[in-house]
Each structure stands twice: as structure tokens, then as C-alpha cells.
Symmetry: C2
Subunit: 197 residues, 2 copies
Amino acid sequence: MAKRRSETKEENRGKLIAAARKAFAEKGYSAASMDELTAEAGLTRGALYHNFGDKRGLLAAVVEQIDTEMAARAQQIGARRGNDWLGLLAEGAAYIEMALDPEVQRIVLLDGPAVLGDPSKWPSQNSCLQVTKRAVDGLIAQGIVKPLDAEAVARLLSGAALNAALWVAASENAHDVLPKAVEAFRSLATGLLAEPL
Amino acid sequence: MAKRRSETKEENRGKLIAAARKAFAEKGYSAASMDELTAEAGLTRGALYHNFGDKRGLLAAVVEQIDTEMAARAQQIGARRGNDWLGLLAEGAAYIEMALDPEVQRIVLLDGPAVLGDPSKWPSQNSCLQVTKRAVDGLIAQGIVKPLDAEAVARLLSGAALNAALWVAASENAHDVLPKAVEAFRSLATGLLAEPL
DNA sequence: AATTTGACATACGGCCCGTATGCGGATATT
DNA sequence: AATATCCGCATACGGGCCGTATGTCAAATT
């Protein structure tokens, strides 16, 4: 066989991240054991430490991967809708739905901030925030949205969306409350409009 | 001296909670050592385990104490302003400011949700949510706010406020961005009004 | 006064993480 | 092509922390 070394290294990195995603999502960050994690990936803690430095580094890598996937989805939706007002609303709703994924919740919304600190300091830069910020910036430039601080608006919107998702996910009947959350989000967002509809 | 037993027990409970507040706020939940914690309170882990069951129990008690304090402040502000629209806005701004306290951030906003799970399942019931929900309920009944699901609105508002607070706190110049956050919050909230101002 | 209760201390064991060291194959050198 | 080097990963070790079981002494009960 004789594979290239850099090749197998990337493979193993991928295996570790995949195993970590599963373990972190199921057990939570602190309860996830590095030994079990690496064993499930067919490796040992040596590989993990060599690739990611420490447990936090592994979490950061996992978060970055998930975040990248979320950003891709958001971009798709934004592109399909166009960069207008309805696009922003659709994006917000999309984030609420994405956050229903237990993996996203546990890793990105709960353990991520607690272990890694403020999202703005993450390697991945928190795509949700960035994408929203860009959209808001555009809408302000067009005069559709009030001339507020774009980052402030993005922070509030994303915070609202993510909190709504946590609520929906914790509810018994998620499919019943999801529309309520989305509706409330849409109402809230209309407060940003420069002129009432 | 010969104090009553129940008396000293409450005293020690208080000492432990106080020490835990400091340790959790400074080092974070997972990095805080129970041994150091209890030693600083002049006790041992035996007392801690006897009173709170385990480390999570101690965190829950700390969160409850802080949460109660926050609820008291919010009630004050609400009562002073009256249960009207401006009262709700003032309350939201108050929560943003309260969340600037590093203790509140680290313990209630970061470690709390990660360790204890969804706030709605906390013993303290998360005062921020409850107070906001009650205020929104009243405004809906008066026809001031659109007939949305009160809990959904409360979730979104509190999520927005708390996320804004995290942003402000992480900023270099907090006193510069705080007004931006509050202004954005006010704009967002106007989206809830049944009729434009 | 004897007994029971309860609050807390002490002792023990296991798990987990981070570091230091060792090893074998891929890569570079001449 | 043979040797030397490097690198990715495994293994071994040590310390810390948490949860449980057990012990102890003062307060409460009778």
C-alpha cells in the first residue's frame, strides 16, 4: 500500500473528528472520554494529542467543522432567496431549524461557548453571526433596515434564533412549537424595518 | 456557644455557596476544584457532598441564588416603570446590563446551560424568562403586543438580550457598544407592537 | 443519662487528562 | 541503493479530581 504520510494523517484527523462529534453530541464534552473516543476511531490518545494539542483543541476542530457545514447551508438559502428582506427572514428560520439538531445544540450552543469562550474568538468565527451580519449590512445600505449597528443586530438576531431553537428542542412537541417560534422571530425582525410594511 | 444545628448548617451552606460563586466565576465550573472550594470556606468536601449531593448540585444552588437576585432587580424595575410597553423595554435593557457582570456571564450564561441543561428545567425556573413572559402576557392581553405565543416571545427576547450582553462584555470598549446593543434591542422589540407607534 | 440522630471529616478507589519517552515506517540525503 | 533523519503515533507514567464508604463527635431525643 505505502500511503503518503500527510495523507494518512488527514485520514486520521478525520476519523478523530468524526468520533468526537458522535461522543460529544451523545455524552457532552466533559463526560466524553478521550480513551473511548480514540479507541472508537481505531487510534490512541497519542494521535489525538499530536493532532489537536489537547481536548479543547479537538472540540474546536469539531465546532469548526459543524460551523462550516451550517455556513454552507445558510449560503445556499441566502443565494436562493436573494439578499433581500425575505432572505434574512428565511435565514433566521433556517438557523432555528438547524439548531434543532442535537449535535448542533450540544456541541455548538452549549459546550462550545462554555469551553471555548465567546464565539467571536473561535477559529471558525461563528458562521451564523457572520452570515447574518453581512445580510443586515446589505439591507441597511439599501435603506430597508434602520441604520443600526450591523453587528449588534446580528448578535441579537442570532441570539434570539438560537435561544428559540433551544426552547423548541426542549419541548415535548417540537413540531407544535416550532411555528410559534418562527412566527415570533418574524415579528421581532419587522421591528428592524425602516418603514412599516 | 452551642449553636443550633440547623443554624450552623445554613451558615455553612451559605459559606459554600459564596465560595463556589467566587471559584466558578473566576475559574469556570470545570476548572474549579471542590477541595480548594471547600477549604476556602473552612470546610471539607464532606460538607459539600452532604449539602448539595454533588458538584452539579452546588452549581444549581449558586445559579438559583444569582437568578433570584436578578429576578428581584427586574421586579424592581418593572414595578417602577409600570407594566406597560416602556417597562418591558427597560427590563430588557436591565437584563443586558446585569449580564455584564462576569459572575452572571460565566455561571448563568455559559456553564449553567452546559452543565444543567435547558434553563426551563432549572430549579429556579430562570427568572429572566419568567419575568419577561409575564410582562409579555400582560401586554398581549392589553392588545399592545401582537397575539403571539408569550413564551416564544419571551424566549426570543431573553435570548437576544443575553447574547447582546455576551457581545458587549467580550468587546474591548464595553461602554461604547452597550448603547448600540440597547438601541438594537429596542428596535427589534418594536416589531412586536400590534400597531406602529 | 443513655441513645439516637445528623452534620461533617477522613480514607479509599477509579477515572481521566497531560507529558515524556519509545518505536517503526516514510522521507530525505549522498 | 544504503544510510540517516524525521514524523506520526503508541506506550508508560504521574498527578489531580470526583464520588462513595466509613468514622466521629456534638446536638437532639427519650
